[in-house]
Symmetry: C2
Subunit: 278 residues, 2 copies
């Protein structure tokens, strides 16, 4: 087990909000993640929250107010950083939508990204084991959610292997990464030129190809400026309808893409996962 460095610790809603870093083997870089431990004794259900483009682990822990609901329901909340950092990967700090803060949660296969940008392996294998070893979580009761590109991350990491998470939701997610401008730029860079490879990291395409989970909850604001161009919940809705994949997609009039929306709905997501994780 790697040695963790505790970067921050704050009492919060009777539990503890902490931030850690450690030398990750999966990414070959120092990685950060945040953990909120509720006041109840463990082992507790764990909820993973993946954040969006340009974010770090800080955005959700400082702005969403999720700790209140996690304290109420006795849920451990795990918030990984959104990419490797400081790896000197060529181009990884040149644009906000590819590289640091913009990993798209894939295991990259194309140069120069394949060496460090191995986010699926980091989150679903290595960090999962680190969390199980260090925190009072029940490894059999884990759910995942996320916001924006982190919503995409939650959907694809759960759909690519439904045994990983027992519950799945997303807030304002990118629903079909290979069919939006962000993915059209990033997926060829990270995965090469084969469209079949892109489809394996596209939530709607995974469902069309047969991936199934018990149910999916999605909340989406209708005043979100990325709704039509990037998020496209209608593609997820159509894929789920065609495939018989249970989906609850709630549209919220007047809400935008930011953390005022996340804060408004995150409590309901924590409660929803807690109910399913027992």
């Amino acid at each position: 087990m790697p040695q963790l460095t505790r970067e921050e610790a704050h009492r919060c809603f009777g539990g503890t909000q902490e931030v850690f870093s450690y030398a990750s083997e999966a990414t070959g870089s120092r990685m950060r993640f945040a953990v909120y431990t509720p006041p109840q004794p463990g082992p507790r259900p764990a909820l993973w929250f993946l954040s969006g483009l340009t974010c770090t682990e800080q955005n959700v822990i400082t702005k969403a107010g999720a700790q209140r609901a996690c304290a109420e329901h006795g849920v451990v909340l795990i918030c990984p950083d959104t990419s490797p950092r400081g790896t000197q990967t060529p181009g990884d700090t040149e644009s906000w939508d590819l590289g640091e803060g913009a990993s798209y949660y894939v295991d990259a296969t194309a140069a120069p990204w394949a060496k460090h940008y191995r986010m699926e392996t980091w989150i679903t294998e290595e960090l999962r084991a680190v969390v199980a070893a260090h925190f009072p979580v029940d490894p059999d009761r884990q759910g995942i959610t996320g916001h924006s590109m982190g919503g995409h991350g939650a959907l694809v990491l759960a759909l690519r292997d439904p045994s990983r998470y027992r519950s799945l939701s997303a807030l304002s997610p990118i629903c079909a990464l290979s069919r939006c401008p962000w993915g059209e730029k990033a997926l060829p860079a990270l995965l090469g030129d084969d469209p079949a490879a892109w489809a394996r990291w596209d939530a709607a395409a995974l469902i069309r190809a047969g991936a199934r989970v018990p149910e999916i909850l999605v909340d989406q604001g209708m005043a979100d400026p990325f709704l039509e161009g990037q998020l496209k919940p209608e593609l997820l809705e159509a894929a789920c309808a065609a495939a018989g994949q249970p989906l609850t997609l709630r549209r919220h009039e007047g809400y935008d893409h930011g953390y005022y929306f996340v804060a408004s709905v995150i409590g309901a997501h924590v409660a929803w996962h807690a109910e399913r994780l027992g």
Copy 2:
């Protein structure tokens, strides 16, 4: 009435979080303030929240999660910026603890501060009238709270004229400004060399001098690094005990000075004010 410019608007917990700016006569500068309007129809009780050193109106509206409780209790939350900005007052951007972001909520009387740093007049007269004219508040049902130096601000603005606010609380406040290093630096600069003038902006001194409000609620974290050197709740406690001023001072083991503490207790403060404001 001045013309307001709406700088931000976000749907949040069924209400609206907005940020405005306008040309203030009181400070002779463009001032910003935030207003959360809950979903309930007006007129509603208003709660003022004053923020601490280095803050703007953004800290509390993005990090405290107070909108949830304001939506639940039907409270309008008003969050002013912490100082004039861009006034070219000599020295006002040289240190973080005097000038921009560090007004101490006084009406300054000494040069060069007296021209623009008129925060009591701005908050308790001018902005109060602006808010009453533009937002669904009941002017007879207003309370005030604040964090850190904003907790000091809430205490002194209410104690200097108890007719202004019907309820008063503070989170981690500076309790005796003239007897801590921040005040020992700032008060002579803002008010000149007369200690009697400093005492009129010191919460504990005001109470010792006879100021009274119906009751005061204070929450304080016991792992707060500023507790002994700057905050000194024991001086407020002693002044209230000697004067017969009702005070509820709650000490919270393990909590620090930051917004993880504010978020943990702000809901209780909103509920406490809502109960008193009817």
